[in-house]
């Protein structure tokens, strides 16, 4: 394991400190008891894949290595550099959280993996190596082989992501029938088992999406994502549209499935508490670039990048020693013409002369990758804390 601290342990410490989160715990316990009765009908560990690996796959290669990925959007008014040189790695059984403000490119990054992008988006550079196979080089037709069978997606709004005129069970069975080549009957049976697995009674599979509650729909969406037993599941803000209680249930379900099935998970969210609770590593993105990446424990406890610090203090219940919410003045840059140096420079309280001229290189300290001129190559990489209240004019109360 690459991560020294158990993220769940961290999450629990936070819960203890912040009593508002106590509900989460209760819900989790309830869900765990419920889950004990759920039969395991799917392979429960890595290496027990039911379906053969892709022909060109190299079993010794890491699961997913993304390097210098660049995905741009063509607009009439110019090229939007939505994802501009993003690199990361995902190992078997690992959960990576990608966080950042809306429009920072986190969703585009994830959807670029299997090219589920609007027609005006184009991946202009970089590589995406899934088990050693570069997906960027694949033609649209060849890439289809990897969609859902290797990388599936749990979309944000299940209400819209599910087809309103097809029964839920048939929507789950569809990829099984058409991608794995099972008979219609067998596909439906398996779809029923998947529904069971995510805690929906088999019978409810007959329902249309609008007949299910929000939480049920999201569970169905998860069942659908598991249909082809994929190597990686991407959760694109899977809980954002749900209320808090249901959110917790869905997160626990994902967590349990991950442990049971050995899933590798990429979780995209703007909600840092979600990442704290369910991810091993976190990647903070800003304006199409990686600001900071590392284990959840280290990044959340000792944020280095000024943006990460700001982001953490802008969220309640995460930073234990802060009570009031911090805000980040200004707004993200126009990605049609990004600023020449660091993209956060215009909003950064630490801005230096070099920041608006030179793009900060990504440097690594104790497994933490950070792109900021405060931490040049060869420095000790000790976190420099952002001055809070005074610098931005927000009154905060320090609780020691």
């Amino acid at each position: 394991m690459t991560h020294p601290t158990d993220p769940l342990h961290l999450a629990e410490t936070i819960v203890e400190e912040e009593h508002e989160l106590a509900d989460f715990d209760r819900v989790r316990e309830a869900a765990e008891q419920e889950d004990a009765a759920v039969p395991a009908v799917l392979p429960t560990a890595i290496g027990r894949r039911q379906w053969p690996l892709p022909k060109q796959a190299d079993p010794t290669a890491p699961l997913l290595v993304v390097e210098d990925l660049k995905t741009y959007f063509k607009l009439e008014s110019g090229m939007v550099h939505a994802v501009d040189g993003v690199s990361f790695r995902l190992d078997h059984g690992e959960a990576l959280g990608i966080a950042g403000e809306s429009g920072c490119g986190k969703t585009t990054t994830a959807l670029s993996l299997v090219r589920i992008l609007p027609s005006n988006a184009v991946t202009v550079g970089g590589s995406i190596r899934l088990m050693g196979i570069d997906l960027v080089k694949k033609s649209e037709n060849a890439l289809r082989r990897y969609r859902w069978r290797e990388i599936s997606i749990v979309f944000q709004g299940a209400m819209n992501a599910l087809n309103p005129v097809i029964r839920v069970r048939d929507q789950i069975a569809e990829p099984i029938e058409h991608r794995l080549g099972l008979s219609q009957k067998a596909s439906r049976k398996r779809a029923g088992e998947l529904l069971d697995l995510v805690g929906i009674p088999k019978k409810r599979g007959n329902a249309y999406p609008h007949e299910l509650s929000g939480g049920m729909r999201q569970r169905a969406m998860i069942a659908m994502a598991l249909a082809c037993d994929p190597a990686i599941v991407i959760g694109d803000e899977p809980t954002t549209a749900l209320d808090v209680m249901v959110q917790a249930q869905i997160l626990d379900l994902l967590d349990d499935l991950r442990r049971k099935l050995g899933l590798s998970l990429i979780l995209i969210t703007h909600d840092l508490s979600v990442i704290a609770e369910s991810c091993d590593r976190v990647m903070i993105m800003y304006a199409g670039k990686v600001a900071e990446e590392g284990t959840v424990a280290e990044v959340f406890r000792h944020p280095r990048h000024p943006y990460t610090q700001k982001l953490l203090s802008a969220f309640p219940n995460i930073h234990a020693d802060r009570r009031t919410l911090d805000t980040i003045p200004g707004s993200p840059p126009d990605l049609r013409e990004p600023p020449p140096g660091c993209r956060f420079a215009p909003r950064c309280p630490f801005v230096m002369a070099v920041c608006s001229e030179v793009v900060p290189p990504e440097t690594t300290f104790h497994g933490i990758r950070v792109a900021c001129h405060l931490y040049p190559e060869g420095s000790d990489g000790e976190p420099v804390t952002v001055p809070t209240a005074d610098a931005i004019g927000v009154t905060t109360t320090e609780v020691s």
């Binding site: 589920i116 082989r145 969609r147 859902w148 979309f155 309103p164 097809i166 991608r179």
Partner: protein, 324 residues
């Protein structure tokens, strides 16, 4: 299907029909050339004759409730009065003989237009922005801008008088003696081709534009992205996810349209002298056969109401979300 939905729609339709009957009553009391007005305009008419005529037609009674109730009672019993032009025939009989030619013409025309128009619209919408879409959409827009009679006249000029492939008017050749039913059918088809082509061509543009925008709208839906993410082929995504949803508004609008088409495309019948309701209506106007005019107005309005109702039910049948 939920009975509440069914009931609500049915009630709405009934109210509209009541309003139409009401409107019809007052509209035709205002028509020039009614017996009362015709008599009143004659300066030599004696007051006693006028009074007698008024009594005979029931016009001496107050408009409401007596005249109105008599009218409503007759109308609900299917008594729409007698035709002036077709002497001795009831309006209902006259309407009935002209009903079927119209139904055949527009029924077949609608089906052809729906098949071709929806297919064209689905294809151009799916390939939006491509060369076929550009040409197909321009073609649809031009057809959409053509009134039926313009299409009909152009077809007549080219195929009937120019190439002499088809006869110019009527439903069957006048005075021809047909040896067998097959000959009758062949004769009918020869007369039928151009009018039905006119109706179909007039509707294709409209349906194609409608379907195209519906497909484009559906393509932007999240569940289509889901289908792509599932790695389904384009064909399967189109067939199972785009079309079933895109067809919903299109089919509904076609059903609604069914009612208007008959009323709106009466010019086709005039151009080809097709013995249907349109020709009947225009003839009734020029011969001041108001009872027939009133009857056809009632028939056509109520057809539209029922077409709307059918569309609502069709929608409920096709879309699982409409059931409450």
């Amino acid at each position: 299907m939920g009975t509440r939905y069914f009931g609500r729609k049915l009630t709405g339709a009934l109210i509209t029909i009541v309003l139409i009957v009401l409107f019809n009553f007052f509209l035709f009391r205002m028509m020039p050339g009614s017996p009362e007005r015709a008599l009143a305009r004659n300066p030599h008419i004696q007051a006693s004759v006028l009074a007698e005529t008024r009594a005979r037609w029931g016009l001496d009674k107050p408009l409401f409730p007596d005249q109105f109730l008599a009218y409503v009672a007759a109308t609900t019993q299917g008594d729409l009065g007698y035709s002036l032009k077709f002497e001795g025939q009831t309006v209902v009989d006259v309407l009935a003989t002209h009903f079927w030619p119209t139904v055949i013409l527009f029924g077949v025309g609608e089906v052809l237009a729906a098949i071709i128009g929806l297919a064209l619209g689905a294809y151009t919408g799916w390939r939006r922005g491509g060369p076929i879409d550009l040409v197909g959409n321009a073609f649809s827009l031009i057809l959409y801008s053509m009134p039926y009679f313009v299409i009909g006249m152009l077809l007549l000029v080219v195929f009937a008088t120019g190439l002499r492939w088809f006869p110019t008017s009527g439903m069957l050749s006048l005075g021809a003696s047909h040896a067998s039913p097959i000959d009758v059918f062949v004769d009918f088809l020869a007369h039928f081709t151009l009018p039905v082509a006119t109706v179909a061509i007039g509707l294709i543009g409209q349906y194609s534009i409608l379907m195209r925008s519906s497909v484009i709208e559906t393509l932007s839906e999240d569940y289509v992205t889901t289908a792509r993410a599932k790695g389904l082929t384009d064909g399967r995504t189109l067939r199972s996810h785009v079309l079933p949803n895109a067809l919903l508004p299109a089919v509904t609008l076609i059903a609604i349209n069914l009612g208007y088409v008959v009323a709106g495309a009466i010019t086709v019948e005039i151009v080809f002298n097709w013995p249907g309701l349109g020709t009947l209506t225009v003839d009734a106007l020029s011969s001041r056969d108001y009872s027939v005019l009133q009857g056809s107005f009632l028939l056509l309005s109520i057809t539209v109401v029922f077409a709307n109702l059918a569309a609502d039910f069709l929608y409920a049948l096709l879309d699982p979300r409409v059931k409450a």
